[in-house]
C-alpha cells in the first residue's frame, strides 16, 4: 500500500492564447483552462502505481475557484481524493512550493509525484523546491518507477545518460512526458468524478514580489522573404545556403 500525492496544475490552453494586436500582451480572458500536460502524466503514473501496488492517490492543486473542473479530470483518471488550495495569483515557484509543501506535510505521503517542467511556465524548479522544503530525496526526471517495499527505484533520463537511482520513502518524483500515455478516463469514472467531494481551502501564505515590467509576444527580426514562385525562391535560397553552409 502506497500513499501517493500527485501535484497538479492548471494552465490556459496555449493554442488559444493570442497576443493583443496593439499591446502584444497575451489575451488570457475567455481562454479555457486545462489540466497541464505533465500533470496529466503525473496523475496517470500515480494511478498506475496504485493499480500495481495498492494504496491511495491524493491530488493537490494550487489554483483558484475554477480549479474544480481540473480536479474532476484527475478524479476521472482515478485519483481518490482531492484538495484545492485557492489563492494562486501567478507564477511564483517559491510561494507555490511553500503552499504545496505545507499541505503535503499535513497528509500521509510515501511518494509525491509531479511533472518535471510545466508546459506553460517551463520553470522546472518545483521538484527541487518541494524536496528541499520537505527535506526528502528527489528522484528527478523519471521515465519509469518501480516500488519494492519502501524503496523506490526510478529510471532517471539525463542529457547524456540514463541513471537507475533509488531512495527510501518518502520521496519526491518528477516525471517526464515519456513515462506514460495518459488514459482516456472510462465513462463510469467520469460520471462518478462529478459526484466526488472536493476539499477546498484558501492559501494563507504570501510570497515575495516580482515586478513584471512587460509580458509581450517576442518580436521576430527575420527578413520574411517568402516566395510562392518555387523556381525564383530556389534561385535565391541556393545563394544563401552556399553562403551559410561553407
Amino acid at each position: 500500500m502506497v500513499d501517493i500525492i500527485v501535484l497538479i496544475k492548471q494552465m490556459p490552453d496555449l493554442e488559444q492564447v493570442k497576443p493583443d494586436p496593439t499591446t502584444g500582451e497575451p489575451q488570457l480572458k475567455n481562454v479555457p483552462l486545462k489540466l497541464e500536460n505533465l500533470s496529466e502524466n503525473s496523475v496517470e503514473e500515480a494511478v498506475r502505481l496504485k493499480e500495481k501496488y495498492g494504496g491511495k492517490v491524493t491530488a493537490i492543486i494550487f489554483g483558484n475557484e475554477q480549479s474544480s473542473a481540473i480536479l474532476k479530470k484527475a478524479y476521472a483518471m482515478g485519483a481518490d481524493e482531492g484538495h484545492i488550495i485557492t489563492g494562486f495569483k501567478g507564477n511564483n515557484p517559491s510561494l507555490t512550493a511553500k503552499v504545496l509543501g505545507e499541505k503535503i506535510r499535513a497528509l500521509k505521503h510515501d511518494i509525491v509525484i509531479l511533472g518535471n517542467q510545466s508546459a506553460d511556465s517551463i520553470s522546472g524548479l518545483l521538484a527541487g523546491k518541494i524536496a528541499n522544503h520537505l527535506g526528502i530525496p528527489l528522484l528527478g526526471n523519471a521515465n519509469s518507477i518501480e516500488v519494492s517495499g519502501s524503496t523506490v527505484k526510478v529510471k532517471r533520463a539525463l542529457e547524456e545518460n540514463n541513471q537507475i537511482i533509488q531512495a527510501d520513502f518518502p520521496v519526491v518524483i518528477s516525471v517526464t512526458q515519456e513515462i506514460n500515455e495518459p488514459r482516456l478516463p472510462p465513462v463510469m469514472q467520469i460520471m462518478q468524478a462529478g459526484r466526488k467531494p472536493i476539499n477546498t481551502e484558501a492559501a494563507t501564505l504570501t510570497g515575495r514580489e516580482v515586478k513584471v515590467l512587460s509580458n509581450k509576444a517576442p518580436k521576430s527580426e527575420r527578413k520574411k522573404m517568402v516566395f510562392e514562385d518555387v523556381d525564383k525562391g530556389i534561385a535565391e535560397i541556393v545563394k544563401v545556403i552556399r553562403e551559410e553552409s561553407r
Binding site: 493554442e15 493570442k18 486545462k34 500515455e181 482516456l184 463510469m188 460520471m191
Partner: protein, 670 residues
Amino acid sequence: MYVFSIIVLIGLLLSAGFFLYTIYRLLWNAVKIPEKKPGLKLQLGRRIYLVIRNVFLQAKLFKDLGGGIMHALMFWAFIAFASYSSDFFVSAIFPGTNLLSGTFEQVAFFTVDIFAIIALLDVVYAFIRRWGIKIKRYQGYNGFEAWFILSLVGILMATYYVLSVLRLDGVSANIPGSIGENLAAANTPVSYALASVLPKVSATTGYYIYWTAFTIHAADFIIFLAYIPTSKHLHLFAAPFNVLFAKEDQAILKPIDFEKETRFGATDIRDFDWKDYFDFYACTECGRCTANCPANLTGKTLSPRDIIWDIREVVVAQGTEYRTRGGDRDQVFKTVIGEPILEKDLWSCTTCMACVEQCPVMIDHVSKIVDMRRSLVLNQGKAPREVIDLTRNIEQYGSPYTIDPSTRADWAAGLDVVDLSKTPDAQYDVLYWVGCVASFDKRNQEIAKSVTKILKKAGVNFAILGSQEKCTGDPARRTGNEYLADMMIKGNVETLKANRVQKVITSCAHCFNSLKNEYKDFGIELEVHHHTEFINRLISDKKLSVKSLDSDTLEKYTYHDPCYVGRYNKLYEEPRDVVKSFAANYEEMEMNKSKSLCCGAGGGRLWMEEKEGTLISHKRIEQADKVNATTVVTACPYCMTMLDDARKTTGREDKMKIQDVSELIAGRID
C-alpha cells in the same frame, strides 16, 4: 402399419426432435442472454418487401453473379422439394394417404423433376467452385461441412430420380408408400428421358433398387434435418427471419443513454441484442463481406466474416454453459474482445459498409464492430494513440485538429459569406455546414471556397455557422467514444436550434450522414442535402450553366464514391450526373457504386496510421490508374485527403489530379 413406416416415423421424429431442440437452445440464448433490446419498429410493408426481395427473389445474392445464380437455383429447388418431401414422408408413414393430388400434384412433381437436375448440376458447380477453381473466399472455411451437405443434396436428388424412373417403369406401382403413381410420364420429363435411356430392370431387381433408394432418400433427409441447425446451414432457417427482422438503418449508430445504461458498448455476448443473435445464426460463412472488405483486401487480418462467426461460436459455447450450469453471469460471460476478436482488427475497420452491403442475409457487421470499440473506449479508455489524440482535440478544440476554434471560418475571409457567429440575425434560406476538414485543412479549404462560389453564382441565400460550428461527433462516434460524440451532438443540436436551422447542405460526407441520419435521435429533424445532390439540382434547374469540355481535351474522368455518400445514403447517380453534365470522357473504375472501394479514411482511420498490410488508398489509386483517369472526382474531404496523398506517394503527381465535384463545377461556371 408397416415396419418401414414405423422406422421412418421414428427416424423423422428423432431428427425433428433434435432439430427443434437445437433451435430451442439457440432461441433460448437469444432470449435469455442479451441485456439490450434492438428497438425494432413494426414496418410490416417494408418487412414483407424485404422478405420477397431478399429471400424469395434472392436479390442480394446476385451481387456475386456466379455464386448468386448457383445459390438462387438451389434455394428454389429446396422450395420445390418442400411439397414433394412432405408427400414422400406422409405416404411413407401412412401408406395409401397422399398429401398431393390433382393439378397441385402435377405442378409439384413437374417442378421437382426440373429442379432436381438443376440442383444436381448446381452441386457439381459448387464442388468445382470450392475445390476446382478454388474461389478465394471459400478457402479455409468449413470445407467438411460444405462437402457433407453438397453430398447429401446430391444424393437426395439422385435418389429422387432413381425412385421416379422406377415409378415410370412400373416397378413401384404396388409398393406401399410410393407416390405420384397416377401421374402421366410427361409430367416428369427429366425422369421420362432418363427412363427411356436407362436399361429396364426386372421386377425383383427393381424392388430391391427401390427399397435401397427409398432408404437412402429417407435417411438422407432425416440426417439433413438434424444436421442443419448445428452447422452453417442453420442459415436455411435463420436467414429468412434475419431478413424479416432487419433494421431499417444498418450501420447507423444508436445513442447510449448514459443516465440509465450501465453497460457501454459490446464487451461480451450479453451486450448484443436478440436481433444480433439472429445475425450470428444467419451467417453462412459465404465470405462475401470479407472478400469486399478494404482492410482485408489490403492484407490486414480484419475479416467481418470471422468477427460474426467467432462471436457465434462464443454464443453457442457460453450459451450452453449458462443454460446447463447457470451461475454468475459475470463469470460465465467472458469478454469477446482480445480473444477471439483481436483489438487491432476492430481498429482496422473503416466502417465503409461494404460488408453490410454485400451480405445476402442482411447482417450488420459495422455496428457490432463500433460497439466493441465503444466497449474499449468507454469502459477502459483503451484506443490507439492517434485516436486518443483525436478525442482530446475534439474535446478541447471542437475539431480533430489542434487549431484555435476561433479561426474556423478564416477560409471565408474576403468571400463575403454570411457568418452566423458574427451576424446572428442574418436572414438565410440554407445553412452551409462546412465541416472541420474543409474548414481547417489547406487542400480541402478549396472545397469550401468552391461550394461558396457555386452557391453565390446560383443565387442561393446561404449562411455558415462560423466559429459556432463544431465537429459533428462522427469521428468520435465511429471510434467508439460515444460519450464525447453525445456531448458534441447535443451541443450542435443546441446551436442548430438557436440559429433556427432547417435546411442544411454540406460538402462533408461524414457530416452529411450524421446530420441526416443520426441527429434525429437527438431531437432535431433537418432537411439535409449533400452538396453533390444540391449542385446537381442547381444544374438541372438551369440555375447554373456549366461550360463543356473542349472536344479535343485529353482529360479523362472517373468518380470515386465516398462510402458515406454512396453506400450509406445511396447517392450514386447525382455526383455522376454532375460530372457527366460537362465531361463525356468518363469511365467507371473496377469497383464502383455499391461495390466501391473505400479510400481508407472512415471510422476515424483518417487520423490513424495504416501500419498493417498495404495502403487502401494506394489500391484505390491503382484502380483509377487502370482506367487511365487523369482526374479522379470525389465528394468528401476525407477521400480527398487520402487519394491526394496516395497520388503523391505512388508517384502519380504528374498524371493525375483529385478534384471534388464542387471544384470541377466552380471552375466551369465563370
